[in-house]
Amino acid sequence: MNLDWIWANLPQIWTLFVNHIWLTLIPTIIGLIIAIPLGWWAHRSRRGGVVIVGAAGLLYTIPSLALFILLPAILGTRILDPLNVIIALTIYTVALLVRVVSDGLGSVPHETVAAAEAMGYRGWQRLLLVELPVAVPVIIAGLRVAVVSNVSIVTMAALIGIPQLGTLFTQGFQLRLFVPLILGIALCVLLAVVFDQLLIQIGRITTPWRRKDVPA
């Protein structure tokens, strides 16, 4: 194995790595922002829940490579536009998190909601100040799954030519080189672990009342 390849291509690897971070983070954050009101609606209305969770399940079914190619046909974007990847991953993240947010809100003890109600919390206020904070552990658990799978899904975009760590896989295949392949896999796993740990810490900081038992 020839590690010189890494030193010779260090600037390119760095660019791919940074691209990968953005392509993973932006959809995860936008996805969470969209999933919260949708999840809340699914939690509140029985019919809304069935429709939203069903639609989310169907969207999640579409393979990523297919979605990357179908989106330009629907949106009129260029096939090489990274926007397609961002939108596709946002769709997957929303599909995953809607259910999680709805379940998370369902995990809030009835007494807590009743107490908030009695103290005068209403509507959005109760959602933002009482229910969502209590639901944080469940939502964080879902976010961890979403971000780790997003890191992996982004690599698929290499097949249509959008540069990120997956590009190292296609290069490794074309050049019959193991170094870029293994480096790419290692960096993906590293990124996934870092995001995962970061979310665990965020969960710990945002729920100071349950310091002792952090969800696995």
Binding site: Y60, L67, L70, G106, V145, G161, F178, I185, V189
Partner: protein, 247 residues
């Protein structure tokens, strides 16, 4: 040529590279991998669910496996195995191995969490009625495990369909051919056509599993699960373990 023209062109529906043939290939690879994975994962899942042994290892490695990029895994295994395999099988064998590896975790977690989630009261009642441990497993715990087992199979199927498409990159037949070849020829209609067919195939399989769930799962079981007070964290994690796949 537009997407519609490509889909309605009779030339694309006939011959050895035609759409029906590629769909058949895709389904063949999918079901072959699922069958091999089931033979490995279901007995193992029953063992883990029944004895509780090895649960931590399985849960841990299932999480770790999610972080591994499937495309990288596929190409790596292809490059490692290709020199050892001759002829046409060179494209097929490494891919099937990766597909089986990816299909195992959802089926495995579905099986053992299903068995563990069987209602304690039902198990106690069966014991009280004089069922032996094996009878409890086959007549009570397995039927109770069926919904989660099926959703595990569903998760695996989606993962495998998706990855089999990607495997066209290393030379596998199937609907992914249109995407990869279309990309190489800068033929967007062909790419979009392939993508649409893959998406429809995935949706059709999803539908098949939801029908399967409806037919196979005992109606009594469905009613109680709906009426029972939901245990959000449990359902959330169960849904996540079976749903999440590197698409």
């Amino acid at each position: 040529m537009t997407l519609l023209e490509w889909l309605t062109d009779p030339a694309n529906w006939t011959g050895p590279g035609g759409i029906p043939v590629q769909i058949a290939y895709q389904l063949f690879y999918t079901f072959l991998s699922l069958a091999i994975a089931s033979v490995i994962a279901i007995p193992l899942g029953i063992f883990i669910g029944f004895t509780g042994k090895g649960e931590a290892i399985v849960a841990g490695s299932a999480n770790a496996l999610r972080a591994l990029p499937t495309l990288g895994l596929l190409i790596l295994l292809f490059l490692v195995l290709a020199p050892w395999i001759a002829g046409q099988l060179v494209f097929v064998v490494p891919t099937i191995i990766v597909l089986v590896l990816l299909a195992i975790p959802p089926i495995l977690t579905g099986t053992y969490t299903g068995i563990q989630s069987a209602d304690e009261a039902a198990v106690d009642a069966a014991r009280g009625m004089g069922y032996t441990r094996t009878q409890i497993l086959w007549r009570v715990q397995m039927p109770c495990a069926l919904p989660l087992l099926i959703s595990g199979l569903r998760g695996s199927t989606l993962q495998v369909v998706s990855t089999a498409t990607v495997a066209a990159y290393v030379g596998l037949q199937g609907l992914g051919r249109y995407i990869i070849d279309g990309r190489a020829q800068a033929d967007f209609a062909q790419m979009a056509g392939g993508a649409l067919l893959v998406a429809l195939l995935a949706l059709a399989l999803e539908l098949l599993f939801s029908i399967l769930g409806r037919v196979l799962v005992s109606p009594g079981l469905r009613r109680t699960t709906r009426r029972r007070r939901p245990q959000p964290t449990d359902t959330a994690t169960a849904a996540l373990t079976t749903l999440t796949a590197a698409r």
